[in-house]
């Protein structure tokens, strides 16, 4: 029997090394389904999954939806624009209303860090964090790890450089925590204005010099730079940012020979990454997308037996 240690998947922080291995092994086994003629298995037949998206997200949401469909779950999509949230209903009200529909799993994306925790505390259903504010994006980190592991055969001992806006990135946090747990050497790099306090305590070496981060790296992970950062005075301009932290072919020479380039998407070509690099054969950005479905299938499969095990807190 295989099982995650908790009812919910809220963060990488809560996962043990065994949990992470289990998800990755399970995802590996599930990859095959996507290459079949009939891309569907009945594992979650009769289970209801609610996709609760308070933030627009085409990629993550499609990936989850495809994973749910391939496992034969019944799906209910609930997005902020269509919901009563705009009418002043609180997250908790929304959650309790949805809970009354007896879903087995709720997948939530929310702009507030900790929103999935609130839901997980109050709901019987298993809650999957599909990205909460600047906190974590655990399934993204798991799919990144799956991608690296399938290409490199291992995680431990690899040098992983994560470059860009570390402060505002939930991917940076989840990836750092995961790769560090699995024994990789994680470097994060960005302008000092975009690296949050005490980030090294999450298990990363911190530098502001891109060359130092890339030197000998096996994996170069680029993060998206939001346009707002310029207005908020974190950086002077996108152009200056590219000269200091953009990934060019030139810079990639510092990495290991067979290094790979990753990006959680959506990319800003010409801002954080040169087009030629994004399209080069060492770029595995599309592998990440494919692995995303298998990873999310694995998470849903592993959690699908969990809901209802822990009684929800009594309403006050």
């Amino acid at each position: 029997m295989a099982s995650l240690s908790q009812k919910d998947l809220l963060s990488i922080e809560q996962l043990s090394v065994d949990d992470i291995r289990l998800v990755l092994d399970t995802a590996e086994a599930l990859k095959e389904i996507s290459s079949r003629a009939v891309k569907k298995v009945p594992a979650l037949r009769g289970k209801t999954v609610i996709n609760l998206f308070f933030e627009p997200s085409t990629r993550t949401r499609s990936s989850f939806e495809l994973a749910e469909k391939r496992l034969s779950a019944d799906i209910l999509n609930f997005s902020a624009s269509a919901s009563s949230v705009t009418k002043g209903e609180t997250l908790l009200d929304t959650a309790r209303n949805l809970e009354a529909m007896s879903p087995d799993i709720i997948v939530i994306r929310h702009s507030s860090a900790g929103a999935p925790h609130l839901l997980g505390r109050e709901c019987r259903s298993s809650v999957v964090n599909a990205g909460d504010g600047m906190h974590e994006h655990p399934t993204q980190a798991l799919l990144d790890a799956l991608t690296v592991r399938s290409l490199k055969g291992r995680l431990e001992g690899l040098k992983i450089a994560i470059i860009g806006d570390i402060s505002h990135s939930r991917v940076a946090r989840s990836d750092t925590l995961l790769f560090h747990k699995m024994g990789a050497e994680v470097w994060v790099c960005g302008p000092p204005t975009l690296v949050p306090a005490d980030f090294h305590l999450l298990g990363a070496r911190v530098t502001s010099l891109m060359e130092e981060a890339i030197e000998g790296a096996d994996v170069v992970m680029m993060l998206r730079l939001q346009n707002e950062r310029q207005k908020e005075a974190f950086i002077p301009s996108a152009r200056e940012y590219f000269t200091l932290y953009g990934l060019s072919r030139e810079r990639m020479r510092g990495a290991r020979k067979n290094a790979i380039v990753m990006h959680p998407g959506p990319m800003n070509r010409g801002v954080e990454i040169e087009s030629e690099v994004a399209d080069a054969d060492y770029s595995v950005i599309l592998d990440q997308v494919a692995n995303g479905v298998a990873t999310r299938m694995a998470v849903l499969y592993l959690l699908s037996g969990k809901s209802g095990l822990k009684p929800a807190r009594k309403p006050r």
Binding site: A2, S3, T26, A29, A37, V38, P42, A43, A298, Y301
Partner: protein, 182 residues
């Protein structure tokens, strides 16, 4: 290695003999005419399928494809159990459309595993026919399923356990019957 005590049903030599006979039967029925393949059900159906496959290939003197089927995602008790069974990969790298398949498992009991396996195969394509080979048929079916090739039929009580121990998985080779409460 876990030591199993109980009534011995088959020795290593008997297992070998049974597999030889089953392979011969399969060859007799399918070998001369048909495109066929052997598919083992994880876990202990896999080494048995591999052994049958080797014997069949030796007899028909041409390669016979071997597949591995993980039926976890098709189990009908998934909703009832809390922890998820460990998932392993299904490895069938040949086209099953129009092919005759011999599904291999160690013990045929309720028939539910075979039912799941049939569902799994249907998702992979449309085989011409599917036959079933098992080392032990212990009775107590809960579904209308029967084997085409049987190594040994044994009488059991419903609570008994039949343990097939194979060199590849368990480091020893024998079949043991554990009585309920023993």
């Amino acid at each position: 290695m876990r030591k199993i005590k109980g009534k011995s049903l088959m020795t290593a030599a008997e297992i070998d003999l049974a597999l030889a006979r089953m392979a011969a039967e399969i060859v007799e029925k399918l070998g001369p005419v048909e495109e066929f393949a052997v598919v083992g059900i994880r876990r202990r159906g896999v080494p048995l399928a591999r052994r049958l496959c080797r014997r069949i290939e030796a007899a028909v003197k041409r390669p016979v494809p071997l597949g591995i089927l993980d039926i976890t995602l098709y189990r009908d008790d998934l909703t009832a159990i809390g922890n998820r069974p460990m998932l392993r990969e299904t490895l069938i790298d040949f086209d099953i459309d129009g092919r005759s398949l011999v599904l291999v498992d160690d013990v045929l009991y309720t028939g539910r595993t075979v039912r799941s396996a049939l569902d799994g195969l249907v998702d992979l394509g449309r085989p011409r026919r599917v036959q079933l080979a098992v080392l032990i048929d212990r009775g107590h079916r809960e579904l209308p399923i029967q084997a085409d090739y049987v190594g040994k039929t044994v009488q059991t009580e419903e609570g008994d356990t039949v343990e097939v121990r194979l060199e590849e998985e368990d480091g020893e080779e024998r079949v043991v019957l554990l009585r309920r409460g023993a």
